[in-house]
């Protein structure tokens, strides 16, 4: 297989606060190949946004400390790069779409100003940068995200647009010069259902057309189902399961994944499954060993002492759980 685009190896990120250190990420492993569509599903507080911000190097550095680990972009460690190199990456290779499009757009500048700024700094369009070409480029960019009446939108301020339109503008800005990867951090959370559907379809269409890789971060399993090829399930600071998307839904292995699936309300009815007992661990006094241990019905003493590594159970499907330590016991472990 070709070389990975992004490879996160054993990333540990801590935050220094009153009362100690929040050990949020304790060993994140992630691989994205060029053109791949990856989903990361995890609940609030599991560290998905922290991981994504680490890739973009936009974590606020006094409270955040990168304790250990590497993030390799095309083989080079992002965490050790100089500011100028990172800026090049942000300009040309990776960009990010945030959860709240209202907060991501500057309210005192028009959409036109903001998009033209991005275009100017991107050096994507190689023509001379005078007013007319900038304007034409901006309109072209807005057309690509199916914004009706781009001329008018350029003159508007963010507050005059609806939530869905703002998110389209953010996607447009992210796609201006990005060649390699987009990180979409819960892009549909603040949107209405029908608008969210449109945005996701747009995003899928665009990344497929340009063969850009995408990391889609979400709290809901349903959102990643149609959009991604591979999914990671994240819990309390590390990945607990990864597989091809369809396999995850048909054959979930980790108990957390199963709990999430059971708790998701179904359109077919039948009541909602029980939630998962317990809550996420306290990052201030995080236990060594598997962080899911206190909530796990099938835990063993080993789970308390050691953090489980990934065990490959079948092609493309790995799970970080000692129950699957012997690859032979592929499907029967769950029944006890």
């Amino acid at each position: 297989m070709n070389n990975p685009l992004i490879e996160i190896k054993d990333l540990h990120v801590y935050f220094r606060v009153f009362g100690g250190t929040l050990k949020v990420l304790n060993g994140v492993d992630l691989i994205v190949y060029p053109g791949e569509r990856i989903g990361i599903v995890g609940e609030m507080g599991c560290g998905k946004t922290t991981t994504m911000k680490s890739i973009m190097r936009i974590l606020p550095s006094p409270p955040a400390i990168i304790h250990k680990g590497e993030i390799l972009f095309k083989g080079k460690d992002i965490l050790k790069m100089k500011t100028t190199e990172i800026q090049e990456i942000r300009k040309k290779s990776i960009s990010m779409i945030f959860e709240d499009p209202t907060a991501a757009l500057n309210p005192v500048f028009t959409i036109g100003t903001q998009i033209k700024d991005v275009i100017r700094f991107s050096k994507q369009f190689n023509e001379k940068k005078n007013k007319k070409t900038l304007n034409a480029n901006a309109i072209q960019v807005l057309r690509e995200v199916s914004l009706p009446d781009p001329d008018r939108v350029l003159q508007n301020y963010p507050v005059q647009l609806s939530g869905g339109m703002r998110q389209r503008v953010c996607i447009a800005m992210a796609l201006v010069s990005t060649n390699n990867m987009i990180i979409a951090d819960e892009p549909g959370t603040s949107l209405d259902v029908t608008i969210k559907d449109q945005i996701f379809r747009l995003l899928k269409e665009l990344v497929v057309k340009r063969s850009t890789a995408i990391i889609l971060v979400s709290q809901a399993l349903g959102e990643v189902k149609g959009m991604t090829d591979r999914v990671y399930i994240m819990y309390a600071g590390s990945m607990v399961e990864t597989s091809d998307t369809n396999d995850l839904f048909s054959k979930p292995l980790h108990l957390y994944t199963k709990g999430l699936l059971a708790a998701t309300p179904r359109l077919t009815g039948g009541g909602i499954g029980e939630g998962i007992e317990g809550s996420i661990p306290d990052y201030l006094n995080s236990p060594i060993g598997c962080r899911f241990y206190p909530r796990c019905k099938y835990s063993k003493p080993l789970c308390k002492k050691e953090k489980p590594p990934f065990f490959k159970v079948s092609k493309g499907h790995s799970v970080a759980c000692f129950l699957f330590k012997d690859k032979v016991m592929k499907g029967d472990v769950n029944e006890k």
Binding site: T194, I195, D197, G222, I272
Partner: protein, 321 residues
Amino acid sequence: MKNEILIVHNLKKYFRTSQGIVKAVDGINFSIEEGETFGLIGESGSGKSTVAYTVVGMYKPTSGEILYRDKENISINSFKRPQRLKKDIQIVFQDPGTSLNPSRTIEQILKLPLKINNIGRNYEERHNKIIELLEKVQLPLDYLYKYPTMLGGGEKQIVNIARALAANPSFVLLDEPTSALDVSIQAKIINMLMKFQKELNLSYLFITHDLSLMRNVASRIAIMYLGKICEIASTTTFFKESLHPYTQMLLSSIFVITSEEEKLKPTQIISTGEIPSPVNIPPGCSFCSRCPKKMEICGIKDPEMLEIERGHVVRCHLYSK
């Protein structure tokens, strides 16, 4: 025939803003039976929260009536309502972050409804009642002296529910109680709400935009768009034989995780267009700008609510004959 605990008749709530009159709720009719969970679905601008706030008394209706237990007209601001009504009708707000006073401890927050409604004759009794409440909602007792900022989102919402239940109400409005929460906490809270409903014979008006959640919670559902109700039906009918084009558009937009669910989604209607601003609603049916089945009459005349069969009403010209 079961008693109807709430009857809403031609309710309207308009707001005057600098851009014009916003018709947040524009003539809706529905009723809720005692002990049932009535669902209200809608996207932003639909007016569903305004309905809840008007029923609970935060707003005074512009016109229309709200009848409580078939006899009392409660279409008045809560300041004018008698205390026993305020005790009987409670609300749980959507955002757990802003519905708890950050300067008060959990104990103080839970004590307030007890004090106002004279539950418990002295400090000791009230303290015991609060402990009982915490045990009922499965929160650890040491949370009594914590401040809301020390709690997670799910726990805050559980405190909100405990506060609503502290006064022994009969009718609880749940305005998107789990929208800001994780799926696993949502499951826990919804199961808790269902349990309490059975135990205490509560009636719920459940508002959400999550159709999959509504499927498992409500017995009857109303769908709102720009201040008007488009369709009301029992849950099974709603998901199997919906009639209104907006209902079908909404159903086709949701994200599902199994193939059985995919089969339930109507595929012929794909979501298009934006939700228009509620300030200047064009004449005719409010949905016609996005409706794939629009006819000429839709742009001229607003359709009437028609009863297709018992318990199933829809407001659409497609069924007008």
